[in-house]
C-alpha cells in the first residue's frame, strides 16, 4: 500500500480508462442526462455515492461470504441483488431524513441500480484486487479508492459533456445529427483527447 499505487489508481480511473469514455460503462445515463449542467452534476454525485457504497459492500460479501464457502460463481447474482436493495434502502433513508438532498439527487437513485458503471466497478474491483481468490494487501482500501476515482471520472466526463451540449443549443445542427448522434460524436472527440493521458507512468 503506497502513495504511488493510489496515484496510479487515480490517474487510471479518472483519465486513462475513464468509465464512460474508454470503458463505456454508464453510457445510457451519460447520453440521456447530460443536456444541462445542473442535473448532470447531481447525477454524478449520486453515482459516486452509490459506487463507493457498493464497492464497500460487495468487497465484504466477496471476501467474507463467497470466498470462504467457495461460491465465487454466484458473484454476478449476489452483487446485483445487493446493489439493487442497498440503493433502494438508501433512497428511503435519504427521503426520510434529508428531504433537500433527496430533491437534489434522490430521483436519480432508482435509475442508478441498473447503471452498468456500478456493477462494472464492483466486478472490476474483484478482478483487480483479488489474486487467485485471495485479497491482496490493502485491497479493501484500493477498492474504496477506485470507487471514488471512478465517480470523479464519471463526474468529469458528465460536466464536460453537459457544458458542451448547453452551448450546442444555440447552434444550428443538421437535422439527422440532432440529439443522440451528435452526442456520440462529441463523446468520441472527448475520448480521443483523453487517450492523450495513456502514456502516464510512475
Amino acid at each position: 500500500m503506497t502513495i504511488a499505487q493510489f496515484l496510479m489508481i487515480f490517474i487510471s480511473a479518472v483519465f486513462v480508462s475513464n468509465v464512460i469514455l474508454s470503458r463505456f460503462l454508464g453510457l445510457c445515463s451519460f447520453i440521456a442526462i447530460s443536456k444541462e449542467t445542473k442535473p448532470a452534476l447531481a447525477m454524478s454525485f449520486a453515482v459516486m455515492f452509490v459506487i463507493v457504497m457498493s464497492s464497500a459492500i460487495t468487497w465484504f460479501i466477496y471476501r467474507f461470504l463467497l470466498v470462504p464457502f467457495g461460491l465465487e460463481y454466484l458473484r454476478t447474482i449476489s452483487f446485483i441483488l445487493v446493489i439493487a436493495t442497498s440503493v433502494q434502502f438508501v433512497e428511503m433513508v435519504v427521503r426520510k431524513f434529508a428531504p433537500p438532498l433527496y430533491r437534489v439527487f434522490g430521483i436519480y437513485l432508482p435509475l442508478i441500480t441498473v447503471n452498468c458503471a456500478v456493477l462494472g466497478v464492483a466486478v472490476l474491483n474483484i478482478d483487480m484486487f483479488f489474486v487467485n481468490g485471495k485479497a491482496v494487501v490493502g485491497s479493501f482500501w484500493y477498492s474504496l479508492f477506485q470507487g471514488v476515482c471512478v465517480g470523479i471520472g464519471y463526474g468529469l466526463a458528465m460536466l464536460l459533456m453537459s457544458g458542451i451540449r448547453e452551448r450546442l443549443e444555440l447552434c444550428s445542427i443538421p437535422k439527422a445529427l440532432k440529439e443522440f448522434p451528435l452526442a456520440f460524436i462529441i463523446a468520441s472527440i472527448m475520448s480521443l483527447s483523453f487517450m492523450g493521458f495513456s502514456g502516464f507512468r510512475f
Partner: protein, 197 residues
C-alpha cells in the same frame, strides 16, 4: 391479435434494439473491436434474452407487482451466470476478450427492457419469438459496427486481411472510434427515416 412472425421480425428492423430503441449500448461499443467478439457477445446476449423471456413469461402470474423488477433481475442474473460458466469452460479466449462485459449483460437494458415491456404481458410462444428477433437485431447491429471497426481499424474481417497496403486507422479500433462509428450510423439511420416520411 399479434402473431409470432410479427413479433419475430419487428426486432430486426422496425424496433432494432440498438439503432431504433438505443438500448444496450455499453456492451455494443465495448466489444465491437472485432467481428468475432461481436458475434460472441450477441450469442451470449440472445441466450440470456431467450432464457429470461421464457421463464418470465411462464411465471408472470406468480410474481407480485411490487417486487417484479428484483424478480426479473434474479432470473436474468441466473442465465448470465450460466453463460459465464459455459464460456469459461468452452471458449476461455472469448471469455478473456469480452472480460467484464459478460457479467454486465445483467444490466444490459435490452434484457430487462424486454422482460418488463414484453415477456411480462405476453404468452410464452410470443416471448420466444420476441427474444429471438431482438437477439438477431442486436446481433446484426453488433456485427455491422464491429465489421466497420475491424475493417477500418486493422484492415481485416474475421482475421482475414482484406486490402493489401492499407494503412489501418488506429483510432477506429480505440474507444473513440466506437463512439464515432455509432454516432455516424445513428445519423445515417435518422436520415433514412426522414426521407421515408
Amino acid at each position: 391479435m399479434s402473431n409470432p412472425v410479427r413479433e419475430f421480425t419487428k426486432g430486426i428492423i422496425k424496433e432494432n434494439p440498438t439503432f431504433v430503441l438505443a438500448l444496450g449500448l455499453c456492451p455494443t461499443l465495448a466489444v465491437s473491436v472485432s467481428v468475432i467478439n461481436g458475434i460472441g457477445m450477441s450469442v451470449a446476449a440472445t441466450f440470456v434474452l431467450l432464457g429470461s423471456n421464457i421463464i418470465i413469461a411462464l411465471i408472470k402470474n406468480l410474481i407480485p407487482e411490487r417486487i417484479r423488477i428484483p424478480c426479473y433481475i434474479v432470473v436474468i442474473a441466473t442465465f448470465v451466470t450460466i453463460i459465464e460458466l459455459l464460456m469459461k469452460a468452452y471458449s476461455p479466449a472469448l471469455n478473456r476478450a469480452l472480460g467484464i462485459y459478460v457479467p454486465l449483460i445483467v444490466v444490459n437494458c435490452i434484457v430487462l427492457g424486454r422482460a418488463e415491456a414484453f415477456a411480462s404481458k405476453n404468452s410464452v410462444l410470443n416471448s420466444i419469438f420476441d427474444a429471438l428477433g431482438m437477439g438477431i437485431g442486436f446481433g446484426l447491429a453488433l456485427v455491422l459496427i464491429s465489421a466497420i471497426r475491424e475493417l477500418l481499424g486493422s484492415g481485416k474481417i474475421l482475421g482475414i486481411t482484406m486490402f493489401k497496403g492499407f494503412e489501418p486507422m488506429f483510432a477506429i479500433g480505440m474507444p473513440s472510434g466506437a463512439l464515432l462509428v455509432i454516432g455516424l450510423l445513428l445519423a445515417f439511420f435518422n436520415l433514412l427515416k426522414k426521407d421515408k416520411v
